[in-house]
């Protein structure tokens, strides 16, 4: 121990203290710069990694959104097609209905006309028949009514006929 205390050199101690404090001051700036550079680099690496991660997520999101759009478009197309088909069916049906109606109406009209014509024809026929009948009757009457008996018998049959009618 004595040797140790003996070996302690005050001069060396003082010089070491001075030099070391000087170098501490001298290097402080460089340490700051080196540590700062290391830190900046580390944080920039961290940031780039994070940015890459984010970009990856974004791409994934974009992809999924693209898929969504595609699916939506498909759905829309299907819907449009379906609607078109429905429309077509509806139009065809409508047209059919209309045609049916028209034809029905035409037929009805025709029937009416025919009926009317028939009625008219019947009426005319009746008239003619009546006129002819009258004519015939006249002639017959003129012929028949040459005698009284015959006139009377005729009247009777006529009356019977009328009743039968």
């Amino acid at each position: 121990m004595d040797k140790l205390i003996d070996g302690f050199s005050l001069g060396l101690f003082i010089w070491q203290l001075i030099f070391f404090l000087l170098i501490l001051g001298g290097l402080a700036f460089f340490w700051k710069k080196i540590l700062g550079a290391i830190e900046t680099r580390e944080s920039s690496i961290k940031d780039s990694l994070q940015a890459a991660e984010e970009a990856k997520a974004q791409v994934a999101q974009l992809k999924s959104s693209n898929e969504d759009a595609l699916r939506q478009a498909k759905e829309e197309r299907d819907a449009i097609l379906k609607e078109a088909r429905e429309l077509k069916d509806k139009i065809v049906a409508e047209a059919k209905d209309k045609a049916n109606e028209e034809s029905d109406r035409i037929v009805a009209n025709a029937r009416e006309v025919i009926k009317n014509e028939k009625n008219a024809a019947v009426a005319e026929l009746k008239n003619q028949v009546a006129a002819l009948s009258i004519e015939i009757a006249e002639k017959i009457v003129k012929q028949e009514l040459s005698s009284d008996d015959k006139q009377k018998a005729l009247a009777d049959t006529l009356v019977d006929d009328m009743n039968l009618n």
Binding site: F20, L35, I38
Partner: protein, 382 residues
């Protein structure tokens, strides 16, 4: 990569060779003049003494910078290759002169009416003949010692290493500006992982995410300083800065001062009035905690000093065995030395790491928040 490895290997080999070469001069001395005239016992005693002296010389600080020596002291043709360093004495006024005036302790230097002599690496105030007075009972030297603020070998190396660190980290800091990608260039590529290691494995776990930034400059400086200094200690230059208590004591003192200065209310409360124990215990605990507080930097100082010194002593002793013992032991001791140098390389980094780690631990205890917060942090960490 390969080239770098080869370079490291070559530097290592030169390092070993250099140490051996430096020791060779003594070997030469020994065999040169005395083998015939001395008995075997005397010779082995002298060898032991020389090894011991050499190790001590290697471990100690000195006032001049000797790269290697040639010749023999006894024969008077000893020559030292190196250069002198300035001596600064504070003894009733500042006195400055070159250490070459001592002529390696052989001459007495007169400055301002006082006489100084370099004796075993220390400067003493003497009379004009350079008499060193010894205490009769203990054998201690009783001469006065001036306050010695000399630029010694260690001071020069501390300065050079700090200068090296300054330019190294300035270059690294600047290299981040080039290229614009915030990547270090050159040496920074090697240093950056170490800095990140200090931040993520030393500072953040011990101090905490919130407050670690304040201490980073000190922790990084201390880590790199101790590491580089320890590595230089393994080169054949013979500088062992962390071998001196003054240096490790200074570092430990700085850690202590920073710990005290950043201690919060919670920290002081745990020392003087430990919460959660009955009051008689608080009175008992206060002095224990206070002693613990002082022991912390003390153990930091001793640990670093002792590890490096012990490592060097063992290494030098093994090398001494190569030089001063018979040839057949040399192969084994050479192998042992190589292994030990590798271990010392690891210890150099390990001690720097431990010093930094413990400093961070002490800072962490000083800025620690209340118990509740601490537990919360733990649960987050798991």
């Amino acid at each position: 990569m390969r080239a770098n490895f080869l370079k490291t290997l070559i530097i290592l080999l030169i390092g070993l060779g250099g140490n051996v070469m430096a020791s060779d001069s003594h070997d030469h001395d020994n065999h040169g003049g005395h083998e015939s005239s001395m008995s075997e016992e005397d010779e082995s005693a002298l060898r032991k003494l020389l090894v011991k002296e050499y190790i001590n010389h290697h471990l100690e600080d000195s006032h001049d910078f000797i790269l290697f020596s040639t010749g023999n002291r006894q024969d008077g043709d000893e020559k030292h290759v190196g250069f002198a360093l300035p001596v600064i004495l504070f003894d009733g006024g500042i006195k400055m002169f070159m250490s070459s005036e001592f002529e390696h302790g052989e001459k007495v230097v007169e400055k301002g009416g006082n006489y100084y002599r370099l004796y075993h690496g220390k400067i003493y105030k003497t009379d004009e003949h350079g008499t060193i007075k010894h205490d009769h009972e203990t054998g201690d030297i009783t001469n006065d010692m001036p306050v010695d603020l000399s630029i010694t070998k260690n001071v020069v190396f501390i300065f050079l290493i700090l200068l090296l660190m300054y330019f190294m980290f300035r270059g690294m800091a600047k290299s981040y500006d080039k290229g614009g990608d915030l990547m270090p260039r050159g040496a920074g590529r090697f240093l950056e992982p170490i800095i990140i290691f200090i931040r993520d494995d030393v500072a953040i776990p011990n101090i905490g995410e919130k407050k670690y930034k304040k201490f980073m400059p000190y922790l990084l400086t201390v880590f790199f300083f101790i590491w580089i200094v320890n590595l230089f200690g393994l080169t054949p230059l013979g500088v062992n800065v962390t071998n001196s208590l003054a240096v490790t004591g200074c570092l430990a003192l700085l850690t202590f001062v920073i710990m005290i200065a950043s201690g919060n209310k919670n920290f002081w409360m745990h020392i003087f009035w430990m919460p959660g124990v009955p009051w008689p215990m608080k009175i008992v605990l206060a002095p224990i905690e206070l002693i613990g507080l002082v022991i912390k930097p003390f153990s930091l100082m001793i640990r670093l000093f002792a590890n490096i010194t012990a490592g060097h002593i063992v290494l030098m002793s093994l090398m001494g065995m190569i030089i001063y013992n018979s040839w057949y032991g040399s192969g084994l001791t050479f192998l042992l030395t190589v292994v030990l140098v590798l271990i010392e390389l690891m210890v150099a980094a390990l001690q720097a790491y431990i010093f930094t780690m413990l400093s961070a631990l002490y800072f962490g205890s000083a800025v620690e928040e209340h118990e509740h917060d601490h537990e919360h942090e733990h649960s987050v960490a798991h």
